[in-house]
């Protein structure tokens, strides 16, 4: 059998027991998922190495009471692996130290008609939407174990308790392992209810150490980019620097004799696939090492036809966008003619225009994929948030029956809504090259290629207008917004081009919200907290402008305008209590407030900044208050909030992609600057749960309110109103 076993993975095939002492009152958890993908046989149809009896698709229980959980979601740093394990373990009621995990088999999911329900991981949905069936899998297994014991002991199931891997009735006890085989045959009349009452939870809600940490401090965690397959060759690729340009010619003879070079393969755009992970015109150089492929590609003479898009630039998009603000757009929600009428008749009107540039995911793991096309099966190792999509995509590119495509789950070096690179054309490229060369191929995009060809967050503009009444509060609000997305996409993920504006909770008597979708050749996709990430800024800076124009304190204004909305009131009241927000700090110091609701979570920030006379910005602190309902792992949730804040400040402060001649002038981390450690503010996270059954998402919502909170703080520090990002482009000096 042709086993794919790299020399490094051999020693780690058994699950690693972490021995490090963990402080901070964390739950210790501790069988690591190995890099199964790297040890899997390409000839087998299952990736499972679990030992024992399969109770259901998620669970295998061994005689020695070891439980293997199959994780159908990806771990991209959001703690998904640990969350899934906790959700199942809560209901199964099993000793955390007895748990092993492995990645669920995406091919099985496909063959068995979506057996794992959902295998994609996005939109902060994992806990929010998948908890019922994950907890259900644990609950069902527990009840079947109890039923098996009840039948053997001749008693009723209700007399048995299941706790930490042990079944008990009176003085009889047995381990789950002893009844695993019998339980696998049990059919329940009715599936049990899951427990969503946090007061009854024994595991959920406790700060729990993430299972993947130990593998991530010693270099052993396997990412797609680390894949090694026997006989594998490497490809470096370059698509048209102006996206959707066409390849005119290339001269392979010029590089043919370089060491290790195998081929130059032109890749043709697949027509009609622009909304999907698409293949664009590109040239690939294949060699026996990545470095040889990359250096040869850099020397390859290539000619492109850039077409009309080569005329496009950011300034022209902004100008076109602001023009659209004067035209009627698609109405979000209901038409309310009284909004414009009230504004027209008012003696006090506030209006402001905003704009924000394209941004890119820039996951630390550059976009890559390894694909091995054989006659009867295809194997894919890609950093994707959606294994099912990877299968469909490769099947489409090669003409293979999807049932014969095997997508191996790997750790992702960041996802952030960009599908870890799985949403780009890289997997198609690798599939196409492997198909042509009949060899396994690893394609890696250089960072320059990644910034140029990734699917970007749309450039956006907005104009907001409000009339202010005698009490200083708005009497009407009229907004228009637009984004520039590939082929004027109407929606990106769940978001429209005014998501973050039309859904603000503030009780303005008359509101009308309109949106436009403008077209660009730049490929677009979701980006952590889509919509809210760009538009939340526009809405929440304008809120401060309205409040101040009406003579209101911005925090009191928000409290007033959400009266009667208990969850918003709780968040703002908590913020008021904890933040010490004030507007009377000496010049050069400022505090700012903002709140954006997204993914079912309300997140409010208070930013504290200092700005030197010469205009040097220092973001000292961001306090985040969130109502996310149930928080299943406060430890991971806090981390996600810290990360989301840093993520959004990277864009709003230091980032910003600039389009010139149809391509981005930012090419690498020297010209697309991410926040560095010395710029990162101290982030404090507070959960203020208003109760109810809500499981809000936490992977994204803390980010969007951070930039407007900082902009609002800058106003108090300097008197300068910031209506565009990145902040670095603004002169913040004051006298």
């Amino acid at each position: 059998m042709n086993k794919i076993v790299s020399k490094k993975t051999l020693s780690r095939r058994s699950f690693i027991q972490a021995s490090a002492a963990v402080g901070g009152g964390l739950m210790l958890g501790f069988h690591m998922p190995d890099a199964l993908a790297a040890t899997i046989s390409p000839k087998s149809s299952s990736t499972s190495t679990a030992v024992g009896t399969e109770i259901n698709a998620w669970l295998v229980i061994d005689k020695d009471n070891t439980v293997t959980m199959r994780i159908p979601h990806t771990e991209m740093g959001q703690g998904g692996l640990t969350s899934v394990t906790m959700l199942i373990a809560e209901e199964l009621n099993v000793d955390w130290s007895k748990i092993k995990t492995e990645w669920a088999d995406a091919n099985r999911h496909l063959r068995n008609n979506k057996e794992y329900k959902v295998m994609s991981t996005h939109g902060s949905q994992l806990v929010r939407l998948q908890h019922p069936h994950l907890m259900g899998a644990g609950a069902s297994a527990r009840e079947r174990l109890k039923q098996a014991a009840a039948e053997a002991w001749g008693i009723d199931r209700s007399q048995i308790t299941a706790k930490l891997g042990t079944l008990t009735a009176g003085n009889r006890t047995a381990t789950y392992g002893e009844f695993a085989e019998a339980a696998a045959k049990v059919k329940l009349d009715k599936e049990p209810e899951i427990s969503i009452d946090p007061t009854k939870w024994w595991l959920l809600g406790k700060p729990t150490q993430r299972l993947d940490i130990p593998n991530k401090v010693n270099g052993s965690a396997q990412y797609a980019i680390d894949t090694k397959v026997p006989g594998m060759v490497y490809a470096a690729v370059k698509a048209s620097p102006v996206p959707w340009g066409t390849l005119k010619s290339h001269n392979f003879d010029a590089i043919k004799s370089r060491p290790g070079v195998i081929a130059a393969i032109p890749l043709k755009a697949v027509a009609g696939k622009r909304g999907q992970p698409d293949l664009q015109d590109a040239i690939a150089v294949v060699a026996d090492s990545y470095y040889r492929a990359k250096t040869a590609l850099d020397l390859l003479p290539v000619e492109w036809d850039f077409g009309e898009a080569a005329k496009d630039n950011s300034a022209a998009y902004y100008a076109a966008g602001h023009k659209l603000m004067e035209q009627k757009g698609q109405v979000s929600g209901k038409e309310e003619p009284k909004a414009a009428e009230t504004i027209a008749a008012s003696s006090k009107v506030v209006t402001a225009s905003y704009q924000r540039p394209f941004e890119t995911h820039a996951r630390m793991e550059p976009i890559n994929a390894t694909v091995w096309v054989q006659d009867d099966r295809i194997d894919v190792w890609s950093p994707t948030q959606d294994q099912s999509a990877a299968i469909t995509l490769v099947a489409d590119q090669t003409g293979m029956d999807p049932k014969n495509v095997y997508a191996h789950t790997m750790f992702l070096g960041g996802g952030f809504g960009g599908n870890g690179g799985g949403g780009t054309g890289v997997t198609r490229q690798a599939a196409e090259i492997s198909k042509q060369l009949k060899k396994p191929v690893k394609v890696i995009w250089s960072r320059e290629e990644d910034l140029a060809q990734d699917k970007q967050r749309p450039l956006a503009v907005a104009k907001l207008t409000a009339s202010i009444g005698d009490d200083g509060l708005p009497t009407a609000l009229f907004t228009r917004a637009a984004w520039f997305s590939q082929d004027a996409m109407n929606q990106i993920g769940g978001a429209t081009s005014d998501y973050g504006i039309y859904n603000i909770p503030y009780k303005v008597p008359y509101r009308q919200h309109e949106r436009h979708n403008a077209k660009t050749h730049i490929p677009s996709s979701t980006h952590r907290a889509p919509g809210a990430n760009q538009m939340g800024f526009m809405a929440e800076v304008f809120v401060d402008e309205m409040a101040i124009a009406g003579g209101w304190d911005p925090l009191e204004w928000r409290l007033k305008m959400t009266e009667g909305l208990d969850d918003f009131q709780l968040v703002f009241k908590t913020l008021k209590e904890k933040a010490g927000f004030r507007t009377d700090l000496p010049k050069g110091e400022g505090m700012g407030i903002a709140m954006v609701e997204s993914h079912g979570t309300i997140a409010a920030c208070c930013a504290t900044v200092t700005v030197s006379r010469r205009g040097r910005l220092n973001i000292e602190k961001i306090l985040v208050v969130l109502d996310a309902g149930r928080v299943i792992n406060p430890h991971a949730a806090t981390e996600q909030c810290e990360g989301s804040v840093c993520w959004e400040l990277s864009h709003a402060w230091t980032g910003g992609l600039e389009l010139e001649g149809g391509r981005f002038v930012n090419t690498n981390f020297d010209s697309y600057n991410l926040l560095r450690i010395d710029q990162n503010p101290h982030v404090e996270t507070i959960f203020a749960s208003s109760g109810g059954d809500k499981f809000g998402g936490l992977g994204e919502p803390a980010g969007p309110p951070a930039p407007p909170a900082v902009a609002n703080a800058i106003f108090y520090a300097t008197g300068k109103r910031i209506r565009s990002t990145p902040f670095r482009q603004h002169d913040l000096s004051w006298t």
């Binding site: 021995s19 993947d212 010693n218 040889r292 070096g413 996802g415 960072r447 810290e642 982030v683």
Partner: protein
């Protein structure tokens, strides 16, 4: 060209163009994939290793220039994740996606080898080349302070 490198205490013979960045030799020829590629231009720190104890960016170091030097990668920092920096990283729970963390840990351990008790400003200066897109900086600061106290107690 064939030459021998001393990596994590072992001699490794490689056969590559002498100018090949050490990063790619480690990853593709030697099979040590803990050292990561992030930018290739010395701006992200994902490829940080130790050369004779100094933190260096392996994407900028020609492999042949490392002959005769002691190369340490994340895999060789300790046998069992017992280096105080690794322990502190686990205790604080620093990594999110983890991709940048080999580089972060190598930069931090080189700093602490020189300065057992660095100031916050010294930590920031030593770590400023290491990007983390997941935004784990706050925990990195915390973990370095913890590692520093572990080292001083030892």
């Amino acid at each position: 060209m064939k030459f021998t490198l001393n990596i994590n205490g072992e001699s490794q013979q490689v056969d590559v163009e002498p100018e090949t960045p050490l990063l790619w030799v480690l990853r593709d020829d030697v099979g040590l994939t803990g050292t990561k590629f992030g930018c290739g231009i010395a701006r992200c720190g994902a490829c940080t290793i130790h050369v004779d104890g100094q933190a260096m960016k392996s994407c900028q170091l020609q492999a042949s220039a490392a002959v005769g030097k002691k190369i340490t990668t994340i895999e060789g920092l300790s046998k069992d994740s017992s280096h105080p920096v690794q322990q502190a990283w686990v205790e604080v729970g620093v990594p999110q996606c983890g991709y940048c963390q080999s580089g972060q840990i190598m930069s931090a351990s080189a700093l602490l080898a020189k300065r057992k008790n660095p100031t916050d400003a010294e930590i920031e200066a030593a770590m400023a080349d290491n990007l983390c897109r997941c935004g784990t900086y706050q925990r990195i600061m915390q973990a370095i302070r913890l590692a520093s106290s572990k080292i001083q107690q030892a």
